[in-house]
């Protein structure tokens, strides 16, 4: 059961982040963080199906994490989700078409290993 939850968390987290990235790139670069501009950004977001889909996936991931925490400890939950760093980098390269070279692969691997080590 707990590995099923880990899978759901990693998968939904990845899908959520990929959809949010695609949706925000489609919306255009945010240049301005003044209140008026942020309000405009929010208006666009609530009509952006990719970002809304991303939120839905992240919500599923969040509730799966809460369920996982109710049956295991944080020391199990946190390292298990570290794998999503690598999964997301993979999708960023092949789905979003980002130019992922050795530095980014190394960065994602170091962060995933680092998050894993933090649970000790």
């Amino acid at each position: 059961m707990k590995w099923l939850l880990v899978g759901i968390i990693a998968l939904c987290n990845t899908i959520g982040d990929v959809l949010n990235t695609a949706g925000m790139k489609r919306q255009g670069e945010v240049e301005d963080l003044r209140p008026g501009a942020v309000a405009g950004m929010v208006k666009k977001i609530i009509r952006n199906p990719l970002v809304l889909g991303g939120f839905a996936a992240l919500a599923v991931s969040f509730f799966a994490l809460l369920s996982l925490l109710s049956i295991t400890t944080v020391s199990f939950a946190v390292p298990a989700t570290a794998i999503s760093y690598l999964l997301e980098t993979l999708l960023a390269k092949y789905v979003l078409g980002e130019d992922v070279r050795w530095r980014r692969w190394a960065a994602a691997t170091l962060v995933a290993c680092g998050v894993f080590m933090l649970s000790f």
Partner: protein
């Protein structure tokens, strides 16, 4: 819900120690993960911004992106800290009734946490609009290091060698990612779209 460690539930320690203590989710893993990254972040930031051959437009773009990264990291850590503190004050919620969860909204710390996390979500989306996902992920992992180092230097928590290794690995990842251009899909159509 996550159980608060006994020392948090019973001993109202003075601010900000109690506030930072509330970051701990349980005793087995104080998410003591954290200031090395801010240091590494500032250093790598300087290296990335002052690279020769960068024109002023690229430098300005990078600078704005870095401000967003800092905002994402700080609001993530603060938002979770306030929300966690608020939830511990409200007490354990084991219920399917939304009313019980709405009770949490009456707590000032929980409200502050939720408001800060709204800023976090918006700044994260703004960051994703101008930088690659494969850049944002490792760079914003500085939040883990920030939590650990605050725990160590402010709370005087013991950090095991395994955790120091984790902090160093994440810091290395942040520095490496900072070495890459923040957006590589410029001018290209995002494949998913």
């Amino acid at each position: 819900m996550i159980a608060a460690p006994a020392h948090i539930r019973n001993a109202p320690a003075p601010w900000p120690r109690e506030w930072i203590a509330s970051l701990k989710i349980d005793n087995s893993l104080p998410i003591n993960v954290a200031i090395g990254s801010s240091l590494s972040f500032s250093v790598s930031n300087l290296i990335a911004i002052n690279k020769p051959g960068m024109n002023s437009e690229t430098r300005l773009h990078r600078r704005k992106t870095q401000i967003l990264v800092a905002l994402v990291v700080v609001t993530n850590v603060l938002g979770n800290a306030f929300l966690s503190r608020g939830m511990h004050q409200v007490g354990r919620i084991v219920s399917f009734s939304p009313v019980d969860y709405l009770r949490a909204f009456a707590n000032p710390s929980a409200i502050a946490g939720i408001l800060i996390l709204i800023v976090w979500i918006l700044s994260d989306l703004a960051l994703l609009s101008r930088a690659d996902l494969s850049f944002v992920l490792p760079v914003t992992a500085s939040a883990y290091v920030l939590v650990a180092l605050v725990g160590h230097f402010v709370l005087h928590d013991h950090i095991s060698w395994q955790r120091w290794t984790g902090i160093l690995l994440i810091t290395g990842g942040v520095i490496l990612a900072e070495e890459t251009p923040e957006r590589t899909t410029n001018g290209k159509r995002e494949r998913l779209l």
